[in-house]
Amino acid sequence: MLRVFDIALKDLHQLMRDRTTFLFLLIMPILFTLLFGYANGAFRGSLNDPRLPVGFLDQDSTWLSRSLHDQLAASEVLRLQSRLWISENDLENQVAKDKLAAAIIIPAGYSHALLRGEAARLVLIGDTGTTVGRSIESEALTAIIHVENAARTALILEQVAGERTAFDFIFSKALTAWKNPPIRVVETTSAAIPEQNGGINALTHTSPGMMLQFAIASLLTSAQVIVHERKSGSLRRLLTTSTNRWQILFGHFTAILVLNFVQFLTLILFAQIFLNVNYLRAPGATLLVAFSAALCVAALGLLIGILAKNEEQAILFSLVLMFALSGIGGAWMPLEVTGRAFQAFGHLSPIAWAMDGFKNVTLRGMGIESAWLPSLALLCYAILFFTLAAFRFSKAEERL
């Protein structure tokens, strides 16, 4: 067992001294994630603010309307955009052109009507027939309910207390109490909600896509270590020691596994911190998928290293597989936008399963239960690739 780690450590030493390793493992996936994310609409507005952009026009201009503005501004779902000298027509145009997801207008007299106990209505410009529209409507209603109920509570108690200053205090207290409701929804999405297009979700796709694509591309360095060991005669020499073939196979496999798993963890943390891709919404699920994907990629790297007759073939095999598996598997474009037939075909690629696993967490908000099937599929691919590699290795031994 120790020899497995010795061989793995030796491989890692060699790989760490090759600058190409870092290029393919870290630099390229980060660059391509940002590039493809930008191309697919990420970074519109604030890089760190993925909320739905909603226009806001306060025609009432009272402390109550400002309270409502503050409630809406604190929302985790929508991001208010209010500008001076913008009109109702301007907001309608922007919503129609999809520059805003919706717009909320507080008409003049809203607060007055509310405080008099009369019906007070806001104007919501948007398509409440869509998921986005319904989300915004729901969020707006929630804010309105909080403010209206706080106002009504304060009114009632003011009448009881009979002093003006109590209204402000009670209103403020009532509004604050809504921050700790008796029931709090933790998960707000489900697999039943279709994936939303738009810049907000671009990075949740490109981040795992590029991470997986360049994990395969990085195999060109790992595979070259194996090829060079065979060509230099070091493998033959290794077989004259007490080291057996399984130790050699597992040693190389372990090195690639460690390298790729560390790559995944690094890129996941990068995306979590800097790109707001919420991998750690369900850390167990993310880790399980990442580890399974690393097993699969490591086995593939071992197979490439054993099949390739020289360094050039190792590079060729790695790059061809990178393009083929990434393209088919949905690393570039979501398989969800393709037809059913292509989605089924795409799942011949292990990339598709890994994408499913990651996006179940980041996009669909699912938990550990959503990671089992993709991880099992990736594990099956790992076993297949490793078995082929072991078989080919035993055949190659005679030719050493």
Binding site: D6, K10, H13, Q14, G233, R237
Partner: protein, 316 residues
């Protein structure tokens, strides 16, 4: 107990019989050379003795361990110096020795001290932290040999370790081989250089076309050709000369000539008294108008033995 005992090894690759019934034995502390031209089966024999190839027939015992039934036992007592530099060139000399030491089962402080010791022995202690890729060929060879010695094996195989290196490095390697013997190691050495076999070996096995055609000490082998001298004649344009075949016949007809062999532009004769026959040989060449550019008279050696046994020169 003999350190190495080889009994009737056979190995074929498809239709080609690479090794045909090779048998020999090596005593402890001895240097045994396997001598033969390229393609004679030396490397295939060594590969079987390293347990890299499974014999089709026969067996060998290395310090009592069978290559067929106990390959791990064989590998535990063995050090192998391959013909090519088999090192990880992007690792340093120290890292290479440490890694290979681990593969041979050394650990911890024992490994560290042994690596330091070996680096001193091969004179690379001050280059221990340099990558092997930066070393000149001679230094790489030294590290290549050092790897095989890291675990103090009882038996060491050296597969043509001096091929393609400069004379000074070759001299160093040959001196190292003798030193290994002085330290009590048993050395199995393959080469196609007759001079190396003559200089180093206690016993020599001559292989050709997969067979062991002769085996013994240098003196015993040379006695095969008796007291015959070898005359080597370099001639120009012999193969295109119309009188070449007549000349060879005339040479064979000279008294005292036992064998005549033509290879490229060199005629090799085995004769009773080389110096006495030279004038007659030159006369034959003059009659046929063939120009002799060089003539060497050589005392009996392994080259002559090989020529006698196979009808061909040892060198390709």
């Amino acid at each position: 107990m003999k350190t190495i005992e080889v009994q009737g090894l056979h190995k074929s690759f498809a239709e080609i019989q690479a090794v045909r019934g090779v048998s020999f034995s090596v005593e402890q502390g001895e240097i045994f050379s396997l001598l033969g031209p390229n393609g004679a089966g030396k490397t295939t024999t060594i590969s079987m003795l390293c347990c890299l190839l499974r014999p089709d027939g026969g067996d060998a015992l290395i310090m009592g361990h069978s290559i067929c039934n106990d390959p791990m036992g064989v590998k535990s007592v063995l050090g192998v110096v391959p013909q090519d530099i088999a090192l990880y060139e992007d690792l340093t000399a120290r890292e290479n020795l440490t890694f290979w030491g681990k593969m041979y089962g050394l650990r911890g402080s024992a490994l560290t001290s042994r690596v330091n010791e070996v680096l001193e022995v091969i004179g690379l202690a001050d280059r221990a932290k340099d990558r092997v890729a930066k070393f000149p060929g001679g230094m790489k060879r030294r590290v290549n040999i050092a790897v095989a010695l890291i675990h103090k094996p009882k038996v060491i195989y050296m597969d043509e370790p001096t091929v393609g290196i400069d004379p000074q490095s070759r001299r160093n390697i040959l001196d190292n081989v003798v030193e290994l013997k002085n330290q009590g190691m048993t050395v199995l050495y393959t080469t196609h250089y007759m001079e190396e076999a003559q200089e180093l070996s206690d016993h020599i096995g001559i292989m050709d076309h997969g067979e062991m055609i002769a085996c013994g000490t240098h003196a015993e082998l040379v006695r095969i050709v008796g007291e015959l001298d070898r005359i080597s004649l370099s001639v120009s344009k012999l193969t295109t000369h119309t009188g070449s075949e007549t000349m060879l016949q005339d040479l064979r007809g000279l008294p005292g000539v036992h064998q005549v062999d033509l290879e490229d532009e060199t005629i090799t004769l085995l004769v009773a008294d080389g110096h006495q026959l030279l004038p007659a040989i030159f006369e034959v060449a003059a009659v046929q108008r063939i120009k002799i550019t060089r003539a060497d008279v050589l005392e009996p050696n392994l080259e002559a033995v090989f020529l006698q046994l196979t009808g061909r020169a040892l060198r390709d």
